[in-house]
Symmetry: C2
Subunit: 205 residues, 2 copies
């Protein structure tokens, strides 16, 4: 019994020592991170969770009383749940509203619609009252060459210094990845859709 | 001029043909996806965006009028923006509230706190009124062996058939990945924190 107690006590001490070392390491990294400025965050890759991550960050920001706006490319022909909740919380949405390119099948129309949303984006990206701007599914506009890359980069570079921008979508252009402060790639390990599960309200839209 | 017009017209036709083929492919995949049931979704990996993706999905669900609840492991010693917004929208939170293990440095206390939250999780995972349950940062509770894996799997298997569950956190246990319908792995390509940028309100918490 005494032996068991001694062993338990040793395990607890070991845990405490490991955690103390880890705390020192974490604390020193926190001490070294002193800069505060608007970040460019990219969430790319083929997996599920990119847009929801962007919208989760908008929800986080708005919950803290920050001002946020959303521009949505591609999507927008049907009502997404997050839009209703966030609009109620004061988030403004600018929506391309054409649906997917394989639905419109009209390149010129898609380009015109993309350019319209981009004009709105430029307003958002020069608005000093906005703390967070989500450019949802914008990566496709660059890979399809619907928007001018140099114009996008210049606009991002000239935005208010405190403004955070989140760009989501597959296959983000390497120039935007280079420009970004934080980049996450969401990889699909498996997806219910591939096993015959249809897109469901509240999860997929 | 006529040649230029012919070329433009050819390009547009080609685009239309490609998009028609793509649409046929997408439509046939949609036709094959007919099942509807509660999904187990795992968002794992080392990159930024896992919890925000979980919270974005909760925002989406609540925006559609579905009922959602959140259990938060590890975190909870400070006010996250998303909690304020979602609680206002009727989402119930159960929070471990101990902070990170390197802060508590007390394994027994952490295990007791984890088990308390898990009791609450079991209530959520048997509540037929709940459409979506987010188990934020739960993966760590299994990798640290703070919770019993068999109990977790049995509880997930016995939940209401329509209930979606989202589990977030690094290094998800392979048994949970096998059980899941959709799994995304968020990889960190780069992170602002590594370049001396501190955690910022509205983005990191």
């Amino acid at each position: 019994m005494t032996d068991k107690k001694t062993t338990d006590s040793n395990i607890a001490d070991n845990h405490k020592q490991r955690m103390q070392k880890l705390k020192e390491k974490v604390d020193s990294r926190i001490d070294n991170a002193t800069d505060e400025r608007g970040l460019l965050i990219v969430i790319t890759g083929n997996g599920k969770g990119k847009s929801t991550s962007g919208f989760g960050t908008v929800a986080r920001a708005v919950g803290h009383g920050l001002n946020a706006a959303v521009a949505q490319f591609i999507k927008g022909t049907w009502a997404c749940g997050e839009r209703q909740l966030l609009e109620n919380a004061g988030v403004k949405f600018s929506v391309m509203g054409t649906g997917f390119t394989w639905n419109t099948q009209d390149k010129e129309k898609d380009i015109a619609a993309a350019k319209q949303v981009w004009i709105k984006c430029k307003e958002l990206l020069s608005d000093t009252n906005l703390d967070v701007v989500l450019l949802d599914e914008m990566t496709y506009m660059l890979s399809y060459k619907y928007l001018d890359l140099d114009d996008v980069i210049e606009t991002l570079n000239n935005r208010p210094k405190h403004q955070h921008v989140i760009i989501t979508g597959r296959a983000c252009h390497r120039a935007i990845i280079e420009l970004a402060d934080t980049v996450s790639e969401v990889q699909s390990i498996k997806h219910a859709f591939d096993n015959g599960i249809k897109a469901q309200k509240g999860i997929d839209w």
